[in-house]
């Protein structure tokens, strides 16, 4: 494992850059645990102060130190992204592998369910749900809902991969080695499926963070929780740009950009590394 990281660090410029960018993000997240300010409290410091040594990102119109407030925001946004990704990956892999290998009515049923989820218009449903669940639309619930909506596309992708893997000779060799269906799926097929899963995970993380931003900007999520989205909501609410409080918009925007870019570079470099075709080149095929 360490050797993998060492190789990536040494030879892949993208990975190095990703590590640099994401370190910044991680540091911010870690700092949030030592924040001198409570993000739920307002008017703790003078409002609308531009960036200075005392307040690196300035203060908001609500009297909060922006830097420390954003440490919570980044932490929450990333938390949302990761939880969503985990939930949807797990579901999509289970569904895709099962549908692909078993075929028959299991496949048809699972794909029918999956297709229904694909065609459902997500944003209107989310808006509806947030009205209904106004009080309990916290971050975790949002992550669960997004996770439940985010698996269907990839399930079909994984299923196609499994369909083709099923026909290959080595699957038959495994059958004649007495291997059970479960272990064939895990040992023979999953390694080929993982790169797809990995590649789409990034997509999923970014998509869910983006979804949250959309909801928050519209004022539909729990606005007391600091996230990158709620930052923009509150900034908008107080007319930050018009009032000249440019740092309130810029800081979250820049941090979001760094987060997205860092994650993208990280996933691309790792994905190329674990892709079977690159691995084969590495091993010396």
């Amino acid at each position: 494992m360490l050797r993998v990281l060492r190789d990536l660090l040494r030879y892949d410029g993208r990975f190095r850059l990703a590590v640099v960018l994401l370190s910044g993000v991680v540091i911010m997240i870690l700092l949030s645990f030592n924040s001198p300010y409570d993000p739920s409290k307002t008017f703790e410091v003078p409002w609308d102060l531009p960036p200075s040594w005392e307040h690196p990102f300035g203060t908001t119109s609500r009297g909060q130190d922006l830097f420390w407030w954003l440490t919570f925001a980044v932490r929450n946004s990333l938390y949302l992204g990761i939880v969503t990704a985990i939930i949807s990956r797990v579901i999509s892999v289970l569904v895709g592998l099962t549908a692909g290998y078993r075929g028959g009515w299991i496949d048809r049923t699972l794909m029918a369910i999956s297709d229904s989820f694909v065609v459902l218009p997500l944003l209107p449903i989310l808006i509806l749900l947030s009205f209904l669940l106004r009080e309990s639309m916290n971050l975790l619930n949002l992550a669960i809902i997004l996770g439940l909506f985010g698996w269907s596309f990839d399930a079909r992708l994984i299923r196609s991969q499994v369909l083709s893997l099923r026909e290959r000779s080595f699957t038959r060799t495994a059958v004649y080695s007495g291997t059970s269906v479960f272990w064939i799926t895990m040992r023979e097929h999953l390694p080929f499926v993982l790169p797809i899963v990995f590649a789409t995970t990034l997509n999923n993380v970014l998509w869910s963070i983006g979804m949250e931003v959309t909801l928050s900007v519209l004022g539909l999520s729990d606005l007391t929780t600091p996230t990158l989205g709620t930052a923009l909501f509150w900034a908008n609410q107080h007319g930050a740009l018009v009032a000249g409080v440019w740092w309130w918009i810029t800081a979250p925007a820049v941090i979001t950009a760094i987060l997205f870019l860092g994650l993208y570079l990280l996933f691309t470099s790792i994905n190329e590394f674990i892709d079977p075709r690159t691995r084969l080149r590495l091993i010396g095929g």
Binding site: D7, F273, T278, R281, L282
Partner: protein, 330 residues
Amino acid sequence: MTLLSVQNLHAYYKTEAYGISRTVRAVDGVSFDLFPNEIYGVAGESSCGKTTLIKVISGSIRPPLKAIEGSVNYDFGDYQADMLKISQDELRKNIRWKRISYVMQGSMSVLNPVRKVIKTFQDIVDTHERITDKKEFLEKTRAHINRLGLPTDVLNAYPHQLSGGMRQRVAIALATVFQPALIIADEPTTALDVVVQRGVLHMIKDIQARSKNTVLLVTHDMAVHANVADRVMIMYAGRIVEEAPTENIFNTPLHPYTQHLINSLPMIGEKSTKVSLKGSPPNLADPPAGCRFHPRCPYVMDECRTVVPELVTVKERHRVACHLVKEASL
């Protein structure tokens, strides 16, 4: 007149990923000539370098493949070309399909699966000579197809409607539309049934006999060479080990590898035990020193392990790279 002269060609693949760099010495010091009006066979197994050799002589030199040393020069009479220096543009305009054409294993790469065969003909002819009179073009194409013994209705078919053998023959028809001076056939019949193979090879022979051009036939199947080629060249691990007219190769093979290739083939009517060579073809990224065949050679001597045998002419048009033969002729 020499059609093609390859001198001391070294072509390697250089790859680098995650700090691991590998150089595969696919063609390592190959020199041979091609003359007009002959079928020249290249025999060798997987990873002997023959595919790389073909890439270089047909001008498909792209990274990670690089020609490190040597020369590849064509003389078409009215036109000369240096394959290592020629531009892609020049290749497209004056060489491909017109002077050198290619027939490969599995015609998939040349026949467009979503277009009728006649359209593929049109595409290829059009790129080289603008078709002004469509009727004339159709007439000429039909005549060409018929002359090669194919029914005209293949022109209106899609590739998947034809059998493998028929597709291959259509690919050959495509390759000969401009009557090129050199046809490179790379394992053209390997995936085909034995009866179909016979038909396809007959077709190649007929074409060569009629237009008196040169065919470079690459296949690992020695029996095919025996029945089709005029001269045969045996490659092993990136080098030529023997080259001679077909009768000589089969009647008096000099190199132990050639001898093995011929003797190990079972024939109907013979039940004597055939033996396999020990070991396996070497890894071209890390080939053995000296004669590359020495780890598997039943007659290996000390010299073979360290000194590379040179390819020398021992008889009329018969070249061998083997220390054994050098010793014998001294």
